[in-house]
């Protein structure tokens, strides 16, 4: 019996995938399938070990290959492979004809501008009917306090409680942490607040250490991405909005629409990160 003919397609891949794609071919399986995307789990220690293959309409996750044409229907558990330059799902073979950066540098930002953006962001989030999944949760509060005081102990304690907390493919706790990590790293770098980046490094190490064992595979991969400052287009747009490079309101509006609570959880994490960067900057200044 002859194998079915291969269909070749091309798309735009996150540079986070470049290493996995260019290394030799490894087996993978379909973890989840939606009309707008397929998640593949690759048998590999390399992160991201979950790869999202999505159409242009879907959220552009930092571990995504975006394709122009509709994705053929596949069933969960189906065999796939990734490597030698291609992603293969069933008879479909995908190659990258474009690479995009899931963690573009924000460039220098005046901390005064960030300070002005915080109340705006807080008001927009508070006004939104989209609520975070862990509103009122103690660990979430602890995380915010720990971060703004640069208390590594309290921050890490809270973060460890939050990993995998909540229902769904990407639990609310993970989304919060991802937002926080990305904000600390990018806004800290942009505003020249070294302690925020330092905090991001430590939290990232703590959170990613055993993420694969504590949360869903896709969420673990997204935490690994966030640890490196890699985020979805919606999150990056909010960062640009905070930096005054685009409309914060429309960027935040788009982010809040994501998923059931995902967008609101990410936004909450970003807020905690932003406010920590501002608090830590005060600390940096006092130390000087």
């Amino acid at each position: 019996m002859r194998a079915p003919a291969r269909t070749h397609a091309t798309g735009a891949a996150s540079t986070a995938l470049r290493r996995t794609l260019e290394s030799s071919r490894r087996p993978a399986r379909v973890l989840a399938a939606f009309p707008s995307g397929v998640y593949l789990e690759v048998r590999s220690d390399l992160e991201p070990h979950v790869i999202a293959v999505v159409t242009g309409e879907a959220t552009r996750l930092p571990n995504a290959m975006v394709v122009g044409d509709p994705i053929p229907r596949v069933s969960v558990g189906a065999d796939a492979s990734v490597g030698d330059g291609a992603i293969e799902i069933g008879s479909l073979s995908l190659r990258a004809h474009r690479w995009w950066d899931p963690a573009p540098p924000l460039g220098p930002v005046d901390p005064v501008r960030l300070a002005q953006a915080l109340p705006v962001m807080t008001e927009l989030c508070d006004r939104s009917p989209k609520r975070p999944g862990l509103e009122g949760n103690g660990a979430a509060g602890l995380l915010a306090e720990g971060c703004s005081e640069a208390s590594l102990l309290r921050g890490i304690m809270a973060a460890e409680q939050l990993v995998g907390l909540g229902p769904g493919l990407t639990p609310s706790g993970d989304d919060m942490l991802a937002g926080l990590l990305v904000a600390l790293r990018h806004l800290g770098t942009a505003a020249g607040v070294g302690r925020a980046v330092w905090l991001a490094d430590w939290l990232a190490a703590a959170v990613t250490f055993d993420a694969r064992g504590r949360t869903t595979p896709i969420s673990a991969t997204l935490l690994h991405c966030a640890a490196r400052g890699e985020a979805s287009g919606e999150v990056l747009a909010v960062l640009r909005g905070l930096a005054g490079r685009q409309s914060l309101e429309s960027a935040l509006h788009r982010l809040l629409q994501l998923g059931h609570t995902s967008g609101a959880d990410l936004a909450w994490g970003l807020r905690i990160g932003l406010s920590s960067v501002l608090d830590l900057r005060e600390g940096d200044r006092r130390d000087r």
Partner: protein, 509 residues
């Protein structure tokens, strides 16, 4: 058979593909399917077709076949190909009302964005206000009509890349002046290469994103530098083409200055590389002054006598970013009888690089026989000019020049003219040619070049190829290099090094 079809329009490149397909059918002596512009009517007349009255809005079909069967087959194939084009155009837009001008397209996009959030699919991110807004317009309509479409973009304050050539210079100046008022950027006209956010427009390579921004009045020049940087592991964020005339006295570098400013304001751009043929003196002064005011460092490559070549510019850029330039990849020719080393080992960056070891291999023995003529057979204008300067000898032809592309596809897509030229090179001479990979280029250039190269080598011609491509290019850099070297060409990733090597083979240096 000569036919005129009214009410049908297809772009010239699509029709060239149809013509090519028909010409290749058995029994077809000549085939031309084109819009009946003055130029195309002239070509058809030269081919000996008697034309009825027709104008640029009509589709002209001219076919000559050996017999009725062949003609009928060609006519059937023509209908199939044309209906394919029609389906493709219609299938684009689900609503069935594709916009007819750039202005209408902008208006549609704005209209959709204004209605915001009406998308039924709640699970996705699309549909929110501003999401659908275009960020860039790409115009490639025939030159005499490009102004209107480009002006739509400029008046809306949107960057526009004008791929079209034959746009009058006064229209270029007007567009660029208007762009200063509206905040737009005019890339072109005759801008063949741009990369925006990793997306290649026109002839462009698949590059890793990164800290370098390239401003280029020369498309292939930008491709060379970007590919070398990419091979060195340094990413290029964007290539802003400005059109070959931008740095002329008439245009005054208007787009170059704007592009420099835009990169300077872009937080992700850490280094700017400016590539152009030597500008008009007063423009060079203005550009230099502007560069001095920027906060972002600029590496300038004004290709001319006494200036850095493109490879040197790429190396300067790497050093400016604190990276040591690598040994540029090269792939020495496989001598007849010798087994080509497998593709696994990758390019011979170190040991057997022909540039490093000119005395080795097939080149040296013939070089001893005395001076040989160096013939540059190029598809990229800037690459051709660079090679001529670097080699300092030889006869160079740029087959991408307007004189050769009238009524036919660019040599990066259709190698026919270069293949003819290669076949005509007398035994004993040295051929230097460029092979450009990436979006827009021939999907497998080595497939048609390699047999011609092998034939030339068999006649005693030495062939040197500058292979301009990145590791991410769809043609596969390594595979193309292997195919060319297996045919007997010495292959270099650096055009300047290829030129030096070719000059040495010719006995000039």
């Amino acid at each position: 058979m000569v036919q005129v079809r009214t009410g049908t329009y297809h772009d010239s490149v699509s029709l060239m593909r149809v013509s090519q397909a028909l010409s290749g059918l058995p029994g077809v002596e000549a085939a031309m399917v084109a819009m009946a512009t003055e130029l195309n009517r002239g070509i058809a007349a030269e081919l000996g077709f008697a034309l009825p009255a027709c104008g640029p809005a009509d589709l002209l079909v001219a076919l000559r076949a050996d017999d009725g069967t062949a003609a009928a087959r060609a006519a059937a194939e023509l209908d199939r190909l044309l209906s394919g084009l029609a389906v493709r155009t219609a299938g684009r837009d689900a609503a069935g009302h594709p916009p007819r001008t750039v202005r209408a397209a902008l208006r549609e996009a704005a209209g959709t964005a204004g209605n915001g959030g009406t998308t039924a699919n709640g699970g996705t991110a699309a549909g929110a206000a501003g999401e659908g807004d275009a960020t860039l317009v790409l115009v490639s309509v025939p030159g005499p009509h490009a102004f209107a479409e480009a002006l739509d973009a400029v008046e809306a304050g949107l960057p526009v890349m004008i791929f079209s050539d034959n746009v009058p210079v006064e229209q270029e100046v007007l567009l660029k002046r208007r762009a200063e008022e509206t905040g737009a950027l005019v890339m072109g006209p005759d801008c063949g290469t741009a990369v925006i956010g990793g997306a290649g427009l026109g002839f462009a390579n698949v590059l890793r994103p990164g800290p370098v921004g390239i401003v280029a009045a020369s498309g292939t020049g930008a491709q060379q530098v970007a590919c070398l940087l990419d091979l060195a592991g340094v990413g290029v964020g964007h290539i802003l083409g400005v059109g070959g005339r931008d740095l002329s006295a008439e245009v005054g570098g208007l787009s170059t200055l704007r592009a420099l400013e835009a990169f300077d304001a872009d937080p992700a751009t850490e280094l700017i590389v400016l590539i152009s043929k030597p500008p008009a003196p007063e423009v060079a002064r203005a550009v230099r002054e502007a560069v001095e005011k920027l906060a972002t460092p600029v590496v300038t490559a004004f290709l001319g006598p006494g200036e850095d070549d493109l490879t040197a510019a790429a190396e300067s850029a790497l050093r400016a970013l604190g990276a040591e330039p690598p040994a540029w990849p090269s792939w020495p020719a496989v001598s007849p009888g010798e087994e080509p080393s497998g593709g696994e080992g990758g390019p011979g960056t170190g040991a057997a690089a022909p540039g490093e070891a000119p005395e080795a291999g097939i080149g040296s023995s013939r070089a001893a026989a005395g001076r040989r003529t160096l013939r540059g057979i190029y598809s990229g204008g800037t690459l051709c000019a660079e090679a001529r300067l670097v080699a300092g000898t030889g006869e160079f032809t740029d087959y991408g020049d307007d004189g050769y592309t009238r009524g036919r596809a660019h040599p990066m897509i259709d190698p026919a003219l270069r293949l003819e030229a290669l076949a005509a090179v007398p035994s004993g001479d040295v051929v230097l040619l460029d092979v450009v990979l990436g979006h827009g280029a021939d999907p497998d250039p080595a497939a048609r070049l390699a047999p011609a190269v092998a034939a030339a080598v068999a006649r005693g011609v030495s062939v040197v190829a500058a292979l301009v491509g990145s590791e991410g290019d769809p043609q596969g850099l390594a595979a193309q290099a292997q195919a060319l070297r297996a045919a007997g060409a010495d292959v270099f990733a650096s055009n300047a090094r290829a030129a030096r090597h070719a000059a040495r083979l010719a006995g000039a240096r």
